[in-house]
């Protein structure tokens, strides 16, 4: 398939031909080969499946796909067997022959490999019936499970590039922009800026060439949705960019992706080559006269390089430092030319809007936040993974219905949204909707989609300190409030955790937080105080406990806690004595144990080891 497609109509013909080649009744094994699952050793299972299919001579009858991330990383390695979408989780190499024998050939379900609902204890057969997926709305991310990311044919067969054909074939550039404005799409990279307006401003700006850029720097700790999109469905991002370039009148694009994402780099590079071979990228796209090409720029992985002016500097070969310029990038961005920078997920939303219509898209979500958002749900939560939810869903639904609640029956304390400089939202606000403006009102933000769940064993002062330490390390150091301010805030928090806090520290922290936010040059410093400000706002009692009572209620800050054995609960099982690295926990078998405070280094190993809840932290 090397011949260039010369018109939108020809593209449509190719799509139906490719679709026709797939027999919908044919069994297909789709195995998740996303980053999470690969870390569980999925490659060996993939190899085993291939061997088994070959050994049984099933090549023509059974399709086998290695797909991008399915999202439910907690339960990998996993396969979905089409057409029925039977879902097997935590499979091993030895399960492979049985899956083929019984399920693929024999239509029989293997109970053992099914997902068990932790609440109802019922085994669930089909992927779409698993509650983790049931409450999601996987418009952008859902195709990941259906296609091989390295196959443009797969993408075309599920209707990929239809939106491009529609835009180029029958819509004027301004009509495309108007559709994105009507859809009220807002940027998924953090700021939530209306995408259509940004496109419009870039289109109207003077200068040549104009650039469109995809921001795939994704530096938030624990976040991997952009990575999973680029790895699992690179053509959807590419299609969005080509449509954007057409609308804006741009001939040059860049994808700025961190070098630590080799598979994402590989898959998007291949996708661009495939699209170029078919005439979807390059000169005279689909015979329309419109030309557009894309380069990949690999970033060194600094968090601050995700900031727009730092990102431009980095592409231009200068140090990745934000520049204080009061000119919009849409007028003077990369190389001082009109530039439209959007996030990976933002671009991936574009084909949907064009394909299904702006009104359809605007029908999903809240008044001012439309469509869906992908979050990486991590922390103290049963179902970690990537979840895509409609805007407007409540945080409670995400945490409890999709996330399956808090492990070990512990108590929910807070959910942090918005990445390292987001805020911590308490139980009292769990019924708030996922919405750009609502999250901002709570002192947090949508950010790019990190969502970290915390339970009663997380100390909020310690959490604030942790995020500040991260941001301190990522600050470029150019401007005073961010460089020195975060450092000094962190030092104050450290003092509080040591039991040396003073009540006036809380006022100082709040005062500093406001001034750092107001005074910093870029949004890194501008948002860095959020974790401190929100934890003081919602968990002031915890700060006061550290300062006034010299206690850490969550039992985390080592200087403020002691470990002891509850004689009532201790059974003398010796579990604590066995794990204690300093021999502080001692006792005879079947007798009550003790902890020698002088030897105890407060590592918490005994607490984790005790099955009888006999270790008390106070």
């Amino acid at each position: 398939m090397k011949k260039k497609i010369e018109s939108p109509a020809e593209l449509t013909r190719l799509q139906s031909e490719l679709k026709g080649r797939i027999d919908p009744a044919q069994p297909c094994i789709a195995i998740c080969a996303g980053t999470g699952c690969m870390a569980y050793g999925t490659q060996k299972i993939v190899d085993r499946f291939r061997e088994e299919i070959q050994a049984r001579g099933l090549e023509g009858q059974v399709a086998f796909r290695t797909t991008g991330c399915h999202g439910f990383c907690e339960k990998g390695p996993m396969v979905v067997i089409h057409p029925d979408r039977i879902f097997y989780q935590r499979i091993g190499i030895d399960d492979v022959p049985e899956i083929i024998e019984k399920t693929v050939l024999g239509q029989e379900v293997i109970e053992r490999l099914l997902y068990k609902d932790p609440v109802t204890k019922q085994r669930i057969v089909h992927e779409h019936e698993v509650p983790f997926y049931g409450r999601q709305m996987r418009l952008v991310f859902g195709s990941n499970g259906l296609i091989e990311p390295t196959s443009i044919e797969d993408y075309l067969a599920i209707g990929g590039y239809s939106a491009l054909a529609k835009a180029i074939g029958g819509m004027a550039p301004q009509a495309v922009i108007d559709a994105v404005i009507t859809a009220k799409l807002r940027g998924r990279g953090g700021g939530g800026f209306p995408t259509g307006w940004k496109w419009d401003a870039t289109r109207k700006a003077e200068g040549d060439p104009k650039y469109v850029i995809c921001n795939a720097d994704e530096g938030d700790p624990g976040a991997y949705m952009d990575r999973s999109l680029l790895e699992g469905n690179p053509h959807s991002v590419l299609e969005g960019m080509i449509i954007g370039a057409y609308a804006i009148g741009s001939s040059h694009g860049y994808i700025y992706v961190r070098n630590e994402y080799p598979l994402a780099v590989k898959n998007i590079t291949l996708a661009i080559e495939q699209a170029r071979d078919l005439g979807l990228v390059g000169e005279n796209i689909l015979g329309s006269g419109f030309s557009f090409d894309i380069l990949i720029n690999r970033g060194g992985g600094a968090f601050v390089c995700g900031e727009s002016s730092a990102l431009f500097a980095s592409i231009e070969g200068r140090a990745g430092e934000p520049r204080a310029k009061y000119v919009h990038a849409t007028d003077k961005g990369l190389y001082d030319k009109p530039t439209c920078l959007n996030n990976v997920e933002t671009w991936a939303n574009v084909p949907l809007i064009i394909d299904k219509g702006a009104d359809w898209y605007a029908g999903i979500g809240t008044e001012n936040s439309k469509g869906t958002k992908i979050f990486s749900l991590v922390g103290k939560i049963n179902n970690t993974g990537l979840v895509e939810v409609p805007m407007g869903i409540t945080l409670r639904e995400i945490v409890y219905d999709i996330g399956g609640g808090i492990p070990k029956g512990r108590k929910f304390k807070a959910v942090q949204t918005g990445g390292p400089s987001g805020g911590c939202i308490p139980e009292a606000h769990l019924d708030s909707p996922v919405d750009f403006d609502e999250l901002t009102k709570l002192g947090s933000m949508m950010g790019s989609g990190g969502m970290i769940v915390m339970d009663d064993r997380n100390c909020m002062v310690d959490v604030a300190k942790y995020f500040l330490a991260f941001l301190e390390g990522e600050s470029c150091g150019k401007c005073t409030p961010c460089r020195e301010g975060i450092l000094q805030m962190r030092k104050i928090l450290e003092r509080i955790c040591q039991g040396e806090g003073r009540m006036e520290d809380l006022d100082t922290l709040q005062w500093m937080g406001q001034a750092i936010a107001d005074g910093s040059l870029c949004a890194l410093g501008g948002s860095a105080p959020n974790p401190v400000l929100t934890t003081i706002r919602y968990f002031r009692d915890e700060y006061e406990a550290h300062i006034k009572d010299k206690k850490c209620p969550a039992g985390v800050c080592k200087a403020l806690i002691t470990f002891s054995v509850d004689p009532e609960a201790c059974t003398g099982c010796r579990a604590c004595a066995r794990v204690c690295p300093t021999e502080a926990a001692t006792g005879k078998k079947k007798e009550v144990h003790t902890i020698d405070a002088a030897k105890c280094i407060k590592c918490g190993a005994c607490f984790e080891a005790c099955k009888f809840d006999a270790i008390k932290i106070a």
Partner: protein, 238 residues
Amino acid sequence: MSEMVTLTIDGRSAQAPAGTTILEAARGLNIDIPALCSNQELTPYGACRLCMVEITHGKRTRLVASCIYEVQEGLVVRTETERVNNVRRLVIELLLSRNPKHPRLLAIAERLGVDKSRFEVEVKGCILCGQCVRVCREVVGVSAIGFESRGTDRRISTPFNVAPVDCIACGSCAQVCPVDVIPFKEENGVRTIWKTNFELARCEKCGRYFAPMRQLAHFSRVTGLPLEHFTQTCVHCR
């Protein structure tokens, strides 16, 4: 002559040519805005954040660095609001934690009503205003020094921390430094800067050491005139 723009600063009407920064326009009205990283001869940098002012344009009110933000028709600027002063006080306290003694910083602190820094002091001297780096690159034209590392480890250094290859020992960096922390010494015909000794040329007429040989060689390279043209006599005796 470029187009004139009318704006309001602290309730007073001001006129300034388009392209002027708010800081320059305010100085024209004798309004004092503290500033440490700005220098009229150099590209605006906007890093110390002392010169923040509050602006209202249309409906939006926000804080901007006046050393970079250019005047706009109808702009309303307020240079001393509570928010502005809070940022400035924080900045000066933070800078005092790196350099607690320099009279220039103490004077700014006093003007802002800050008597001392509440923060833990770790003396570094340099406040990272970047004037030295910019003067070397933009005025001298050699880029002998630059920033190294990031975040709180950020510092000014010569490439790889060794004797600077491109330095011509002109001393411009030491001269622009607002807190005088770049060591600069002249003794027995030798100028020492960036931990490196540079030989000085001696005037054949008056016998005084007048300029580093490296600097004169740089002049010769730039102008294409022979080296002797510069090295033999000092400007006074020429």
